[in-house]
């Protein structure tokens, strides 16, 4: 039994695995882009805050 056959119970039958796998990859990639964007934001602010507090 291949993976594609295993997922046949999902909508889209014999193509279920391929379709849902592509949408999952898209979802994960977009989620990573957002998480990375927010971690860059936090890092930027904390680093700059340290820099300015040292100057004062």
């Amino acid at each position: 039994m291949t993976i594609a056959e295993y997922f046949e119970f999902l909508p889209y039958g014999k193509y279920a695995f391929y379709i849902w796998f592509s949408y999952l990859v898209v979802f994960i990639t977009i989620a990573i882009l957002f998480i990375r964007t927010s971690s860059i934001h936090k890092k930027t602010f904390s680093q700059l805050r340290i820099k300015y507090s040292r100057e004062d």
Partner: protein, 250 residues
């Protein structure tokens, strides 16, 4: 017009205005994605040749369009930064690269997953697939070249030149299905003859258009969010940046 561009392109104004613009990208992105997904996964009819598998198209094609669109934005803004020394243009080019690379990655992966049931193989070294893979390498080369210099000005200059030279790959990707014999199908929407009368059912075309607009909005939101932080880093010796940072925690 020029004055307006100059005013917006000043880092401080950009920082202030972009904050107001981001929600206008983010919320329509969410709404259009939901409608587009419902239309594409539920309403759109089954393809007479490919059955259900063609539904991968609604993420594959917009991702592939974005991979080229973002590269053009990157090269053009890199060029503007190079010629007119507009700092903001270099920022836009730099933060666009990882987003564009992600869309290229998505186009390649969803294409491979679509290729397996339709062509019987995950990958073939044909013109369309190879040129898209080269695009991914161009993005990666652009990012590593940008990180290879300590001075952001030198980094921008070197990587912009690379981006402009790499622009030659974009028409090659687009016309690869016409110029060479390939497994990849030809254009159904994005060619001069097809744009007025797309060779695709309206119920398949609509979700495709919705998803491609939603991906553009996503890029707009992510790019602005990342550009704001990049502006702060590059302008960190300016008084206004210090004010922004110190007022943030209060």
């Amino acid at each position: 017009m020029w004055k307006w561009i100059q005013a917006f392109a000043s880092p401080q104004n950009f920082y202030r205005i972009s904050k107001k613009i981001i929600p206008w990208f983010l919320y329509p992105f969410i709404a259009l994605t939901l409608v587009g997904l419902y239309w594409g996964l539920v309403i759109a009819p089954i393809d007479y040749q490919q059955g259900e598998s063609y539904r991968i198209m609604f993420v594959h094609v917009p991702a592939a369009w974005m991979s080229m669109f973002i590269y053009i934005v990157l090269a053009v803004s890199g060029g503007i930064g190079l010629i007119w020394q507009i700092k903001l243009a270099n920022v836009v080019a730099k933060v666009s690269a990882p987003i564009g690379a992600s869309f290229t990655f998505l186009a390649l992966v969803t294409g491979a997953v679509w290729g397996k049931p339709m062509w019987g193989t995950w990958w073939v070294w044909d013109a369309r697939l190879t040129s898209e893979l080269i695009l991914l390498f161009l993005y990666l080369a652009y990012m590593s070249l940008g990180n290879a210099f300590d001075n952001p000005k030198t980094a921008s200059k070197a990587s912009s030149v690379l981006a402009i030279v790499g622009l030659i790959n974009i028409p090659i990707i687009h016309y690869s299905v016409t110029w060479w014999n390939t497994l990849h199908q030809g254009a159904s929407v994005s060619s001069v003859e097809k744009i007025a009368a797309p060779a695709i059912h309206p119920d398949m075309l609509m979700p495709l258009i919705l998803m491609s607009i939603s991906f553009k909005l996503l890029y707009g939101a992510l790019m602005l969010m990342r550009a704001r932080d990049e502006v702060l880093i590059r302008e960190q010796n300016m008084r206004w940046v210090k004010n922004v940072i110190m007022e943030d925690g209060k």
